[in-house]
Symmetry: C2
Subunit: 591 residues, 2 copies
């Protein structure tokens, strides 16, 4: 007699009444009621109640010894539950299985935390026992959502003639941006592979190879210091297309988002997202990833305060800085204590030098630096800030663009603290026209804001050498509710332009040839115009699942020290292994 399950624990209904079934699963709970023992048997698909009565005493006493998380197989008959025990919230809530035979596959020790939703167990324990954490319904749901969304994404691209092509994991180290993870070569002593930070050069090569439309859902790696929302390995939806402009890439990916949200969250979104230039985003929202679920835009009030009696305003503007404000609607009566706490946050979290406020209450304007300002100036400041009676105006002064970024952070603090964010909204946005390069004071050189392969806008190419900071790139980010979920660009496909950009970035001919010679060469044999995008799958799933952390949408995440607590990796290796790889450990420097 086979013990193969006939059904999962999530499918029996009263339609199956009278059937003999075999179920397999985990003991979720056991209740002993008089002579009857009830067990909630759990698998990935659901829970089915099974019962043991006293008529089979051997079976009954086996059942008495069942404990949580035992893995069992039961054979029995589907019967209707008594009316008062029907659970209308479960698919299997009308029935139970009257058990006639049982196998115990595996016993279980007491688990270090309960297998249920919303536990408060600390994350270290959860990560160490990841196999138990993953049994919890929230994580199971997240993993399944991820699996299904990923397949929707794949089908979406396949339906549009994209080819999924695997690029190498063992590739060339070309650090330009983040640190590479390196892999020593045994067969090529002294040489190293790098793990891809992105398959950027390969996907461009695929366009030169005529593959036309490429995508890949692919692991990428960055050896960076990990912030709360970063992982050393992450997954991106990587896309490249030939003979396209920004518009075509935008429209396909708007449709992709619409498809995913509709199919998996049953949410309608407009498949035409607003666009905003980087400059507008920075000056209006203080960030390149504005959260548009609430207003509170930044106003530049420099002109109305530059000749005011308040010296800081005057000197800031004289030195080329800006005075900017946001208006918090309806908070004109906010008390001094709350304002002090807000000022603290402006300084400690937003990085501002200080914060000035202005309250519009009962037709009066009071300002924290009011004694230096006349009424007319204050009125103008309020008007420029779009403030009306009853509102609160917050003001920062300082050098640009820092002051915008500080105000952008303050705007988010205000949005959270005063509950201005409508969390039911989905606000997608394309941010465009990023600068091509930015100056690093530290390294005294330009870095590509996006990456060195991003095309400059054709009308700006003449300024490449003379005024590189004024060159805009054909780069774009996809933003959702203040999170960057993707970014891309139209690429350079001309090897002369590519060489010029390398030069601007301080990469000389020799270095360019050494690192990217194959791409420059490839451009000599007929390269199509091309562009693409990469979407952060982990973050996208996190937002879809409403999870708080990337770690809740990744099966086996690392902690902030890049360690896996479950299996204790990374770990020490044998000297023999190192020897074969022609490397040795460095002695730690004396303290």
């Amino acid at each position: 007699m086979s013990w193969n399950r006939t059904h999962t624990c999530g499918e029996l209904t009263s339609d199956d009444k009278g059937e003999e079934v075999v179920l397999n699963g985990w003991v979720s709970t056991r209740r002993d009621l008089g002579g009857l023992i009830f067990i909630d048997l759990r698998d990935r698909y659901g829970i089915t109640q099974i019962r043991f009565d006293e008529t089979n005493s051997k079976l009954h006493s086996m059942a008495e010894n069942l404990r949580s998380e035992y893995v069992i197989g039961v054979r029995g008959t589907v019967i209707n539950r008594s009316k008062e025990t029907i659970n209308p919230n479960m698919k299997t809530g009308e029935i139970e299985v009257d058990v006639s035979d049982m196998q115990i596959y595996s016993r279980a020790e007491t688990t270090p935390f309960e297998i249920k939703e919303d536990i408060s167990t600390n994350e270290e324990i959860r990560m160490r026992y990841r196999y138990l954490d993953l049994r919890r319904p929230d994580l199971q749901k997240n993993m399944l959502l991820r699996s299904q969304v990923t397949q929707t994404v794949r089908n979406f691209y396949h339906d549009r003639q994209f080819a999924e092509i695997e690029t190498p994991v063992l590739m060339k180290s070309t650090p330009e941006g983040a640190r590479d993870y390196l892999v020593p070569s045994r067969v090529n002593p002294g040489k190293f592979f790098a793990l891809p930070q992105s398959p950027q050069t390969y996907k461009q090569i695929l366009m030169v190879a005529g593959m036309d439309r490429y995508f890949q859902i692919v692991k990428c790696f960055r050896d960076e210091d990990l912030r709360a929302d970063r992982q050393p390995e992450f997954t991106q939806i990587d896309v490249e297309m030939s003979f396209v402009d920004e518009g075509e890439i935008f429209s396909i990916h708007e449709k992709l988002m619409k498809t995913i949200w509709k199919k998996h969250l049953n949410t309608d979104i407009d498949a035409s997202f607003p666009r905003m230039t980087y400059r507008e985003a920075l000056e209006t929202y203080g960030t390149d990833k504005p959260d548009l679920r609430f207003g509170v835009p930044i106003h530049d009030i420099s002109d109305v305060v530059k000749d005011s009696g308040f010296k800081i305003f005057n000197t800031t503007v004289q030195k080329g800085g800006r005075v900017v404000s946001i208006t918090v609607p309806g908070e004109g009566t906010l008390g001094r204590g709350a304002l002090d706490r807000l000022t603290d946050k402006a300084v400690s979290q937003a990085g501002a030098a200080g914060m000035i406020f202005m309250r519009l209450d009962g037709g009066e304007i009071t300002c924290s630096v009011g004694k230096f300002l006349d009424d007319e100036t204050m009125q103008k400041m309020a008007d420029e800030s779009g403030a009306k009676d009853g509102d609160l105006v917050l003001i920062l002064a300082g050098p640009a663009p820092d002051v915008y970024k500080q105000m952008g952070s303050l705007r988010l603090i205000v949005g959270n603290d005063f509950n201005l964010i409508n969390r039911s909204l989905l606000k997608f946005l394309w941010v465009t026209d990023f600068p091509l390069v930015e100056w690093s004071k530290e390294d005294k050189r330009y870095y590509a804001l996006h990456h060195p392969f991003t095309a400059p806008r054709p009308e700006d190419i003449d300024k490449l050498e003379s005024d590189p900071e004024q060159v805009n790139a054909r780069a774009y980010d996809l933003v959702l509710n203040g999170n960057e979920i993707g970014g891309g660009s139209i690429r350079i496909h001309d090897h002369e332009v590519q060489r010029r950009v390398f030069r601007v970035l301080g990469i000389d001919e020799e270095e360019a040839d050494e690192k990217f010679g194959f791409l420059l060469d490839a451009f000599k044999y007929g390269a199509p115009p091309h562009g693409g995008i990469a979407l952060g799958l982990d973050r996208m799933i996190m937002l879809m699942a409403g999870a708080n952390s990337l770690r809740d949408v990744i099966a086996f995440p690392k902690n902030q020290k890049a360690q896996s607590l479950m299996d204790n990796s990374p770990s020490e290796v044998d000297e023999k292994q190192l020897k074969e790889l022609h490397i040795a450990l460095r002695k730690p420097a004396p303290d």
Copy 2:
């Protein structure tokens, strides 16, 4: 006016006659016929003929300068070709596009080889210019087949409630079998990650986590010396299922094969594959991956020769070895020269000590060692070998199992040399009941034949310590036409049995805990019976595409020194990078 293409180069037909279209693509060929210039414009989707006439002299002279592999965009009108130039073998063969405007996106130098099917260019050049090699129709076809098959595979599993779950690329080094690729950790000095040889332990952990049905199409890595048909990174279809036995895994994967071959090659295969034990495969075909597209089974003729007059036979059998034969049908008249060449191959390629042959011709039997054998013995030998008049019998003697393996190789040589293999057949086969362990003379210890997590057959568990070589495993391989395309097993899910197997493999308690403690721990909290399989995607696609090498179905393969000739990886890295990773290069040992 937009230059976005309205059509690809593979779709226009006479239905589109009169339409104004924009095409983008590569100049494949140019023919100048009097005043007319014809160009075959190529993209991934096909070729469309475009024409320039003399009426627009500026355009005509631009066209005169077009060379192979230039990338252009053309605008023009679809017209019917003249009758005599219609090409019925192409979808676009009825029409051409009369060009009215053109853009040159990119010029091209002369390519180092022609972009066409079946080139004889050496592989080193092809790999260096991979972006050109990938433009060739054969490789384009292979990449697209791979992309599409992969998606069919994914949909197949998704339709059956498998969840695709990503396991880490940065994992723990647990070398047990092949060498690991190592990745030094910057944040954890002196410690290393390993790249997965397979996600084996993770997929088992996912079963313990209750994920029930897992699959992943995943890159794996083995740092081994590369034979012609190996790559340092390869892709496997990785599967694990809970509450299953061999039968369920077999039947799902038979359906998968049926689905793939039907959908992509329009080939019907029986969705019920024969099964053969390892022992039978070895003794009948001399290999664990028999090619069943031809017969020629191995016969054990030890009993009829053990008391013959030929000493080698006698002593071989006395020492426990075997005398085995195969019969080559219809080759009883093979000449001495051909037989000498065959003997050479038996020695040099199959590793035999020597080869004895017997010709059955015109009712007579002649044998290369006939002077030591009487007629009756020779007749018995022929009978035991299933030989009839007109056949050739080849005989090897030696210790088992080596002599079987030698005969297995000789069988393949014979199959090829005498054209016995029906290449239109698809012969799938499950090989089962592998031994659990094999003894390594070199290391003086047992190794797991499959891997240390493979379940022993329940009836053999008692012999685990007393006679481990007699323990059969619940392991199986999927073989297609003599190629292993997959392998798997039912796993151990009991931590005591797992500990016992580790002990047999000479892995002591401490080492087991250090390397696999998390899995042993996981088994304590309720582990379901589970098993799985891994299919080699690269090899499967190679067989489907009829390609000769894995390198023809991988976009960016490595050569046999694990190098990528296109981008020169692996390569040297900066001392600064090594320092950050707490490693140093070892000085090469003096010669």
